[in-house]
């Protein structure tokens, strides 16, 4: 043998692909509103459910959605988890709470941080509100909302979560 090196048993096969991503019409509207400090959803013309963020369709009915619905930044915890392990690339120090939050007037939850709270006291049905970054820091990004924090309001019964009406005006914070 001309070499003492071991036989090849594997190769590095990195693949890097470059893209120029363009958001769809519905996501772009959500993001533009978010930059204005507003939470914008869409209502289904068939079943009247409100989705946020919207993709441009009602996934239940399979019809296009175009009607914009501005929502308040208050909502209800639909589910949550307490994260105890560090996630690579995530700067947040564990333990912290990640919650499914349904805004008042919406029929679907999104995921956000829940903070300024006692982690062990977080519960399904708990009322929460958004804590926004200062307006000069707003971008086309969900972290314009730094996190949600508890509201001093009675809990929402489980069967009513995701069915509440719009609770107040949608105004930039």
């Amino acid at each position: 043998m001309s070499t003492a090196r071991p036989d090849v048993t594997g190769i590095e096969a990195p693949v890097y692909l470059h893209y120029h991503f363009t958001a769809g019409t519905a996501p772009a509207r959500f993001l533009v509103r978010l930059r204005e400090g507003l939470l914008s959803g869409q209502r289904c013309p068939r079943c009247a459910k409100v989705y946020i963020p919207a993709r441009g369709s009602c996934p239940a009915c399979g019809v296009p959605t175009t009607e914009e619905v501005l929502l308040p930044d208050r909502g209800t915890v639909q589910s949550f988890t307490i994260v105890h392990i560090p996630i690579p690339g995530n700067p947040i120090e564990p333990p912290y709470v990640v919650a499914n939050i349904v805004l008042d007037g919406a029929n679907i939850s999104f995921i956000h941080l829940l903070s300024d709270c006692v982690n062990e006291a977080v519960r399904i049905g708990q009322r929460v509100e958004a804590v926004w970054r200062p307006p000069e820091e707003w971008d086309y990004a969900m972290d314009n909302i730094r996190h949600f924090r508890p509201l001093d309001e009675p809990d929402v019964p489980v069967e009513r979560i995701g069915t509440l009406p719009v609770s107040g005006p949608a105004v930039p914070r």
Binding site: I11, A13, V15, L17, H18, Y19, H20, F21, T22, A23, G24, T25, A26, P27, A28, R55, G56, S57, C58, P59, A60, C61, G62, V63, P64
Partner: protein, 352 residues
């Protein structure tokens, strides 16, 4: 065996960059159009749904899952997906109906190729040890194939330009085409090479868009009371992924699929062929055994606009529309997938 009818088809315009449109927004208008053609209200009104797409085109992992948001999957649907052209979604649906597991099916394909560098993206479908690390792109591979044909003397660059010229001319009657115009062989041959021996015109443009189709048993089509074309044959064959292991000047898989689909069991008047490169249309025309009397790619074909993952289904749709409109009685549609015509599907449609 249960007879199958194509009852509806719709395709978006082919555009170079559709911009602020996501997967759902790309698919939705085509779904709404085929529902309207049949009088359905949603995907709940068919027995089976199957789609074709490739997440790498737009670089969005599991983008095809987002496509389900266009369907209305409450209550849940019988759904499937192929990570390839939706012509193979059609094939899956045909099997489903023929074996009695469904009476009707909705098919759709979509591709937003503009965000990425399509030829480089597609290079990663090649052998991961020997070819993908070289980033051997699809245009280069097609150019190697074209050179072999030219060297063999079986085609000339003028023959290739004639294919392009006819595509552009035919596309003038196709409002969905991306490239159309009255341009002759001599003018095309004056263009510089893009990747010698290919000129830009020899290569299909990159297009964004979507297409959808509804098929059913002939009995169901009659119940719906809509015009339909019978899909009398469909077959698909694949060859080695290694282009060097194949005769690139022929398409044996197309030849086999055509025989199995019964292409020549009766006279044809129209053919829609998925040839992303001009020389490939010549290979395929020969492999399909098409004579001069048959109108090839009256839509302009994919050289006039190429919806990755939907153009194969659209070839079937083009033939369907011509039969239903009375412009043709019997036609053949072809779809391809993979580098240098690796995988080919042939379908035969006839008037009701």
């Amino acid at each position: 065996m249960r007879d199958i009818a194509v009852v509806a088809f719709s395709q978006s315009a082919c555009v170079a960059d559709i911009g602020a449109v996501n997967e759902v927004e790309l698919i939705m208008p085509q779904l709404q159009a085929v529902y309207a053609q049949v009088g359905l209200s949603s995907a709940q009104d068919v027995d089976f749904v199957c789609s074709g797409s490739c997440d790498y085109l737009q670089g969005a992992a599991f983008a095809f899952v987002a496509g389900v948001d266009a369907l209305g999957a409450v209550p849940p649907l019988k759904e499937s997906h192929v990570e390839m052209d939706a012509a193979w979604a059609l094939y899956e649906a045909v099997l489903k109906i023929r074996t009695g597991h469904a009476d009707s099916a909705l098919l759709y394909g979509f591709g937003k190729s503009s965000p990425g560098e399509l030829p480089a993206v597609l290079s990663q479908r090649l052998d991961p040890y020997y070819l993908a690390p070289l980033w051997l792109d699809t245009v280069s591979l097609a150019a190697l194939q074209a050179r072999m044909l030219l060297d063999s003397g079986s085609i000339t660059e003028s023959d290739m330009a004639a294919v392009v010229s006819r595509s552009r001319q035919n596309a003038q009657a196709n409002p969905l085409a991306q490239l159309a115009g009255d341009i002759g062989v001599a003018a095309l041959l004056q263009d510089d090479y893009l990747l010698a021996p290919l000129r830009r015109g020899d290569c299909a443009p990159v297009s964004d868009g979507a297409a959808a189709m509804i098929i059913a048993t002939v009995e169901q089509a009659r119940r719906w009371g809509v015009p339909y074309a019978r899909l009398t044959g469909i077959d698909q064959r694949i060859e080695s992924h290694n282009p060097c292991m194949r005769d690139l000047t022929d398409s044996v898989s197309t030849r086999q699929a055509a025989a199995a689909a019964g292409v020549h069991e009766a006279a044809l008047d129209v053919a829609e062929i998925y040839a992303p490169f001009s020389h490939q249309e010549i290979i395929l025309t020969r492999a399909l055994g098409l004579d001069e009397a048959i109108a090839v790619n009256p839509s302009g074909g994919v050289l006039a606009g190429n919806l990755m993952m939907a153009s194969g289904l659209a070839r079937v749709g083009e033939v369907f529309q011509r039969i239903v409109n009375g412009d043709a009685r019997r036609g053949v549609a072809h779809a391809t997938s993979g580098p240098c015509l690796q995988h080919n599907l042939v379908a035969v449609l006839e008037g009701a």
